[in-house]
């Protein structure tokens, strides 16, 4: 066994070493590297696509693309950001195809194709009429299957630019800084989108709660 391959047995080999080995053609270093991120890549893709097989395809596409393009990866940036960015692009490409197919088959019902209200209208609605505090309502819980579906649908209905921020920041737990890097946006742009997306989600939830007269 060469010194390098025996080194690879060690699980704690740091990322920079793995990257430099992989760049020099060590395939098992590359496999190790990808295995560190496979769950995160799959999870991100699943959140966007809501389909196990499609998310699995994204994982494969991402791994292949990373392998072919690793030479272009600049070690001064973070590998996690780099690979997340690749995965996100593949997932979004598939999402667009999904949407196009649904439209073709006219599966999207009229409510889905309705345009979202402008953000200003959403904000204004918080100032109108009787505003009810529903936060302590026991029905508002993830134990409630129907509500979980509503929450998921709300994300699906968000325009791409809002959905991506919500998935990365709120659900996958990336920091604002990393979210900005993955999406190629400034921090202030991420903050603005995040704020709007959060208010949209609250609006979706409120719509469901008040329509269903849960409160």
């Amino acid at each position: 066994m060469t010194q390098l391959s025996s080194q690879l047995i060690r699980k704690d080999l740091d990322e920079a070493t793995l990257i430099s080995l992989a760049k020099n053609g060590n395939t098992s270093a590359f496999e190790k590297l990808i295995k560190r991120y496979e769950e995160k890549i799959y999870s991100l893709a699943y959140r966007i696509l809501q389909d196990k097989e499609e998310a699995f395809d994204v994982l494969q596409d991402t791994a292949m693309s990373a392998f072919k393009n690793l030479k272009n990866f600049q070690s001064k940036s973070s590998f996690s950001t780099w690979i997340y960015r690749i995965a996100l692009n593949f997932a979004l490409m598939r999402k667009r195809k999904q949407k196009a197919q649904l439209k073709k088959a006219q599966i999207i019902d009229s409510e889905d194709s309705d345009k979202l209200p402008q953000f200003a209208e959403i904000a204004e609605q918080n100032l109108l009429g009787n505003y009810v505090d529903w936060s302590e309502n026991p029905v508002i819980s993830l134990e409630n299957q129907e509500l979980r579906k509503v929450l998921q649908e709300a994300i699906n209905k968000l325009p791409d630019k809002y959905r991506n921020v919500i998935i990365l920041k709120e659900i996958e737990g990336r920091s604002i800084e990393e979210t900005a890097k993955i999406l190629g946006l400034s921090i202030s742009a991420v903050k603005t989108r995040l704020h709007r997306a959060r208010l949209y989600l609250k609006w979706f939830l409120e719509k469901y709660i008040t329509k269903g007269q849960m409160v």
Binding site: E31, K35, H195
Partner: protein
């Protein structure tokens, strides 16, 4: 002395939630929601919405999918490496 209105509260919700609000504004924010029941409800509902999203279960690769991926990865990158090597020769 600045005054914070209900509209400002809506704009400040995220900064407040993320703890990224100036001390001075934060005091005004608190003063407002102590007086304004509507905005207090707004803060509660906003926080509850995010709490629900934060507690979404993590998505896991199923063990069988994971094994399939590892097998696939191993074979595919070997293929590419061999091709490259042949091409260089």
């Amino acid at each position: 002395m600045k005054i914070i209105r209900c509209k400002d509260i809506i704009n400040l919700l995220s900064d407040f939630y993320d703890n990224e609000i100036d001390n001075e504004i934060e005091t005004l924010f608190w003063e407002h929601i102590e007086e304004c029941k509507r905005c207090l409800s707004l803060v509660h509902n906003f926080e509850k919405t995010l709490e629900l999203y934060h507690s979404f279960k993590p998505i896991k690769l199923e063990p069988q999918m994971k094994r399939e991926f590892h097998r696939w990865l191993h074979i595919e990158i070997k293929k590419i490496t061999i091709k490259k090597y042949k091409y260089k020769k």
